[in-house]
Amino acid sequence: MTTHSIHTAGASASRSAAQTAVAAFAAILLGSFLLYGVGFAQPQQIHDAAHDARHSFAFPCH
């Protein structure tokens, strides 16, 4: 591997590492938000709608 090709590979890898971090962070953010809503949020209507799913997935419900 020549220095040039290592350099380009390194640049593209670090760019993709940054993209990976951003994509993973976005997924964690949205995933946590959805999980909070479906499994933990306590407003009555959300609780009632997700009731059977919460019990089935063993989230603490009542």
Binding site: G10, A13, L34, A50, D52, H55, S56, A58, P60
Partner: protein
């Protein structure tokens, strides 16, 4: 942007497939048990004034008035609505977990396919189903439980600890990190899950036992599908970012 779009699409597909499978299994296993258990839910406890007026002896004799739970559907429309909402909640749960699992797979940066995804899925099952259930078994409506916020906090600690420990055991190089993560997984169980002072639930123990098995079995299937599909769909994303060895030779190159 392309990576985010593809990751989210993978999570959406994996979540919808696993959530659909979970919905079918639940309607046959856990949901009938939930409906049955709601018949035992204490809807109207004996009013304190009536109990005093009637005398404590008589109040004790009659006990709380048990009625069919408020949520038990009585018409077809109500039943369909309840099933629909449960399916929607399952799909959202699937997508939420798939997003979290997909992010973990992407960050780990190791090659993945459907088979390795299955292993990831089993890790998810252990983290958010098995580990929390070790202290707080899946519960039916009407079962006695400690304060909700405490249980939710304990559940999250147990799940996060177990997840961190498995990730550390699989990927961490530093032994201190591994030890710390394993301790984090053990800590909630050493402290103990919050339980009510006396377990006086109204639900027959046979129903509760069947529900625990059904809930865990359904969750295992859900996670197997979720992990496999995530692994399969994310395989392309990780291999494209897999020129990582270059990252390790990089310091000299620059």
């Amino acid at each position: 942007m392309d990576l985010i779009r593809r990751l989210f699409t993978a999570a959406l597909v994996a979540g919808v497939l696993s959530g659909t499978a979970a919905s079918v299994v639940q309607q046959a296993t856990t949901v009938p048990l939930i409906l049955e258990a709601e018949k035992y839910e204490v809807v109207t406890p004996p009013p304190a004034t009536a109990a005093t007026a009637a005398g404590p002896a008589e109040a004790h004799q009659h006990g709380p008035v048990r009625e069919v739970g408020e949520g038990v559907p009585t018409t077809l429309d109500e039943a369909m609505q309840r099933i629909g909402l449960t399916i929607a909640a399952n799909l959202i749960t699937g997508v939420a977990y798939a997003l979290l699992l997909g992010a973990a797979i992407l960050l780990a940066g190791r090659p993945v396919d459907a088979r390795r995804g299955l292993v990831w899925g089993m890790g998810g099952f252990i983290a958010v189903s098995l580990a929390p259930s070790f202290g707080l078994p899946p519960e039916l409506p009407g079962m006695a439980g400690a304060e909700l916020e405490l249980r939710q906090f304990w559940w999250l600690s147990a799940a996060a600890g177990a997840g961190a420990a498995m990730l550390a055991l699989a990927f961490a190089r530093n032994r201190l990190v591994i030890v710390a993560a394993v301790l984090a997984a053990a800590l909630p169980h050493l402290i103990g899950a919050p339980h009510p002072e006396s377990a006086e639930g109204a639900v027959p123990p046979e129903l509760a036992a069947r529900f625990v098995a059904a809930s865990l079995g359904g969750a295992a299937l859900f996670w197997a599908i979720l992990g496999s599909v995530c692994g399969w769909l994310i395989s392309g994303l990780v291999t494209s970012a897999e020129s990582r060895p270059a990252l390790r030779v990089q310091p000299g190159a620059r």
